[in-house]
């Protein structure tokens, strides 16, 4: 039972981190209808900024710079690449983001080499023990930070004029533009927000118990894709639920893999994708995604 509680807590904490990534992904999709395959490299960029700066300027300033840096990278992708596309086919734009991803990931993995960089977080490997359940401080910090950011984001999405503009642009770009919403600014904002959220996620993907920022971190970031898809690409609620499902599934599959050895080692990495496949078989638009309706 203790193991189960620990695994659930760890899973929820990881899940909230995946939800952060998936949220950025969904924001870009809602604002611009582009599926951003470069998201994993945005995350790697944020992590790299934090890892390379924390020695010189301290941890917290480094985190802020990392968030700002990743936001700038995201905005730069929108401004330099996405905006230049004159066609209207959004699946072609998805392929452009794959090209951007190849470029960014190559650059960052070349810089990382075979190193494993520490992000210099203050929590270290200390563990909080309540009764017989113990959980790492990093996991608690991840859960709190992700929860806080997600709430702030959702409130802003609902109540600020920026959020209203973004929802209007997602609903109907033409009408929003006629009402004075500047679509370019909305999509620039969406990419910047997604970059910032990814940088925070990078921090919590690389703290204890994971060794640190390395090449494989971008693979961990890929787990946010099934999170976004199984929740429904155009739903913020879906991103949260999807993230939690992925986190918990992964944690349980990793924790109980000694009892599941007949399925092979490393099942935890696979589990999110299996869950996604099953959910897509039942609900092709994801759990909370709007079923596409077309007027002919």
């Amino acid at each position: 039972m203790t193991t189960f509680v620990e695994l659930m807590l760890n899973g929820l904490s990881m899940g909230s981190v995946y939800a952060l990534i998936a949220l950025g992904f969904v924001v870009i999709f809602r604002a611009t209808e582009v599926v951003n395959f470069a998201h994993a490299s945005l995350l790697l960029a944020g992590g790299y900024f934090i890892a390379s700066l924390h020695d010189d300027i301290g941890f917290w300033p480094a985190v802020l710079v990392g968030i700002a840096g990743a936001a700038v990278v995201g905005a730069a992708i929108e401004f330099l690449v996405m905006r230049r596309y004159r066609g209207s086919d959004h699946s072609v734009l998805a392929i452009v983001t794959i090209g951007v991803d190849i470029l960014l990931t190559t650059e960052l993995t070349r810089r990382l080499g075979t190193d494993v960089l520490s992000l210099g977080d203050p929590w270290g490997d200390s563990v909080l023990t309540v009764g017989s359940v113990s959980i790492a401080y990093t996991r608690i910090a991840a859960f709190v930070a992700a929860g806080l950011l997600i709430s702030v984001f959702l409130l802003a999405f609902r109540y600020t004029s920026w959020g209203v503009a973004m929802r209007a642009a997602a609903e109907s770009p033409e009408t929003a533009a006629l009402m004075g919403v500047r679509l370019g600014r909305v999509s620039l904002g969406a990419w910047a927000v997604a970059g910032g959220l990814a940088a925070v996620a990078a921090l919590f993907l690389t703290v204890f118990p994971t060794p640190g920022l390395e090449r494989a971190t971008s693979l961990a970031a890929l787990k946010a894709f099934p999170a976004a898809i199984l929740g429904g690409l155009d739903s913020t609620t879906g991103a949260l639920v999807g993230g939690l499902i992925v986190g918990v599934t992964e944690s349980l599959a990793t924790g109980y893999q000694s009892e599941l050895t007949f399925l092979g080692r490393g099942l935890g990495d696979l589990a999110p994708y299996l869950v996604m496949t099953v959910i897509l078989l039942i609900r092709p638009a994801g759990l909370f995604g709007t079923k596409e309706l077309t007027r002919v």
Partner: protein, 371 residues
Amino acid sequence: MSEVLARGRELRSRNRTRLTRPRTYVWIAGVVLLLALPFYLDRFWLQAGLFAMAAAIGAIGLNLLTGATGQLSMGHAFFLAIGAYGYCVFAGDGEGGLTGLGLPTWIAAALAVGVAGIAGGLFSPIAGRLQGAYLGIATLALIFIGQHVLFNAHDLTGGSNGRDVPPLSVFGITFDDSELVVAAVPFGASEKLWYAGLVLLFGCGLFARGVLRGRPGRAMNAIRDHRIAAGVIGVPVARYRAGVFVLSSMYAGLAGVLLALVFQRTVPDYFGITLSLEYLAMIVIGGLGSVAGAVAGAAVVSLLPQLLTRYSDALPLVSAPGTGGITPGEASRYLYGAAVVAVVLFLPGGLASIAARRSRPKSGHTPGEEQ
């Protein structure tokens, strides 16, 4: 020789005026050049060329799916792996504790392609219903499932060490390094496989061109351009999507078999997500939706690292692996990553559209027919 004959038949059956076009002579010169190359090139370049041929076959398949039907697939590497490992399992002789059925190798190759098709068919409940980028992410699952199986099913795949690939033998010719001297040139595995690769690539290209120009091709393009309209005029959308997915998997399976034969050893690391992205880069750079585009893109993306490796001493900024600078592999990834972005933004239609643009004023072809 057989492709020269096929080419001749094709030429005769067409309009006579074709014989007066420069295009025809370019084709003939190209075929003669390709047939003559093994007599002059060394092993390194033959291997590079063979990789390009295998990649071209896989890219043609992916272009049918992503280019012509608009279904993004990030799972192509999975089907390549099925082809490569399927061939090993069917043809292997069961040495070293690995499963091997010991079938004649050409049957094994055909079965491997079939198994890749079946795997594509098993995914059809998803491939038929999802579209575009959704399918792209769903097919990511295939990559991870594939990697998991490759690393864990030791009996079939040999785990992380991979397994040896038995040489192919057809009509009494074995494609291994037993030397066969033709016109005073020793023919090893690469030279012999070169011709097998040419025949396969030519056949695959013709078949895909037939699919694209015929009724299925029109239906696929209709699904890509307007799914609802395609459905309304009577195209069975889900069935076509699933069908194209299966066909594309079989192309990938064949490419996998050829790759395995060239490598002579299959390792699971190779069939990761990077490989899938490479294939997507190929079809985007070459030109979405056309056979010529897939071949051109495959040649560019797979020959680039080889070229950079060979000439890394002479090039600025590029240095040999392990010396700290930009390795040839990384340099080529920079180049084709940038090429993908540049092509979509500035040259929609890819490399194939340059050729089409040049020949259009004279021949009066519409771009659609160039497919």
